[in-house]
Amino acid sequence: MKIQKPAMAGTLESSDCQVTVEKGQGTVELELSSSVINQYGEQIRRVIQETLTKLEVEDVKIVVVDKGALDCTIRARVECAVYRANEETGPWRELA
């Protein structure tokens, strides 16, 4: 899936994360900030990358500001931002 336009999803509330996506420069460029980056930084990066891979997004600049989100919330916000960038809706089963 290609990023057609910049898009954002999520909030800066506790237990949430805010995800911004825009067209990249041919690769996945991830900028992550989190209050628990030392403990969970690798895990969060892995979840973001897995979600992008499932969505077949290979060219994106993605900025994630984490506020202690669970993995399922990170997935939900990344998907929402990517689909918003394409003005599409999730096919649900393929995202499982």
């Binding site: 506790s14 949430d16 989100a69 399922c72 919330t73 916000r77 809706t89 999730g90 649900w92």
Partner: protein, 295 residues
């Protein structure tokens, strides 16, 4: 029949499906049902975000026995079909249809559920339906609505919109809701589905809340919609049979069974006159006590 149709539903706790902080651990408060709201609690420009949040929450979080119901957007919006697909794919137990005024609306939603169950390989008939009545017309059509589908497990009154339609407002006395409450509970009982009362939003008035719950319990409601975890205990206390009720109901059931054998129709238990008409009520109290984990 789906065995969940008659499950215990003393409390249905509403929470905004768009808020991860709410959906991640709602089960710790142990409401009987969790109502994930895609409708009024979610801003118009966040409907999509709420669905992704709901879908992954349902797929991932273990709600430990709490029933998972999703309130979809109204049938007059462009959102409700996608809401149904998302909720069914995620694995919800039921769908709450808002602003219901006719049986045809329930059938419409049922059609979408059937399609979604097939598309996402969900067991056919797993997803139940409840209807929210929010208008004078809805109250007048309650019986038709209750009987609209085999999937229907209950009907609920939504007091805010209903009183607006009635050209009055929530007073805290309950007088403005009397007719609707009575009509809904009668319709629900006639159709053999459950009936749930509206939310009580004055969170600082716990005494008023308790009185309202006592009233709807006496009226015959099965439970109440709630908006805050601290309302749960009050509802469960009132709706869970007391040890005295359980003991009396046990005696009634036992005595009726024994006296029937001997051809005796009327007798006394603890000084009260009892006949066969008390049997079902006593059995229901024991069933409720079992479901509530106190018997």
């Amino acid at each position: 029949m789906n065995q969940n149709k008659k499950r215990l539903r003393r409390t249905m706790m509403f929470l905004n499906a768009q808020k991860p902080g709410l959906i991640k651990d709602a089960y710790i408060y142990q409401p009987d049902s969790i109502m994930f709201d895609l409708e009024d609690a979610v801003a118009e420009n966040q409907k999509d975000a709420a669905r992704y949040s709901l879908y992954h929450g349902l797929k991932t979080i273990d709600y430990r026995g709490c029933e998972k119901i999703v309130r979809i957007n109204g049938l007059d919006t462009p959102y409700w079909r996608e809401d149904v697909r998302c909720a069914v794919a995620g694995g919800c137990d039921g769908i709450r249809v808002p602003k219901t005024e006719s049986a045809s609306q329930i059938k419409l939603v049922e059609g979408e559920i059937v399609k979604a169950e097939r598309a996402y390989e969900v067991e056919a008939g797993k997803v139940l339906i409840m209807a929210a009545v929010e208008s004078a017309r809805g109250v007048m059509k309650a019986m038709d609505v209750c009987e609209a589908s085999e999937r229907m497990f209950g009907i609920a009154l939504s007091g805010g919109d209903y009183t607006r339609d009635l050209q009055t407002h929530i007073t805290g006395t309950g007088v403005e809701l009397m007719g609707a409450r009575q009509q809904l509970i009668i319709a629900a009982r006639a159709a053999k589905v459950q009936c749930f009362d509206t939310v009580y939003t004055d969170l600082d008035n716990m005494e008023g809340f308790r009185k309202e719950v006592e009233t709807i319990h006496l009226m015959g409601f099965d439970g109440k919609s709630i908006v805050n975890p601290r309302q749960i205990r009050v509802v469960h206390d009132i709706f869970t049979p007391s040890p005295k009720d359980i003991s009396f109901s046990e005696k009634v059931v036992r005595e009726i069974d024994e006296k029937k054998e001997k051809g005796i129709g009327v007798f006394t238990v603890d000084g009260k006159m009892i006949d066969i008409a008390f049997y079902d009520g006593a059995k229901r109290i024991l069933d409720m006590a079992k479901a509530s984990g106190v018997y």
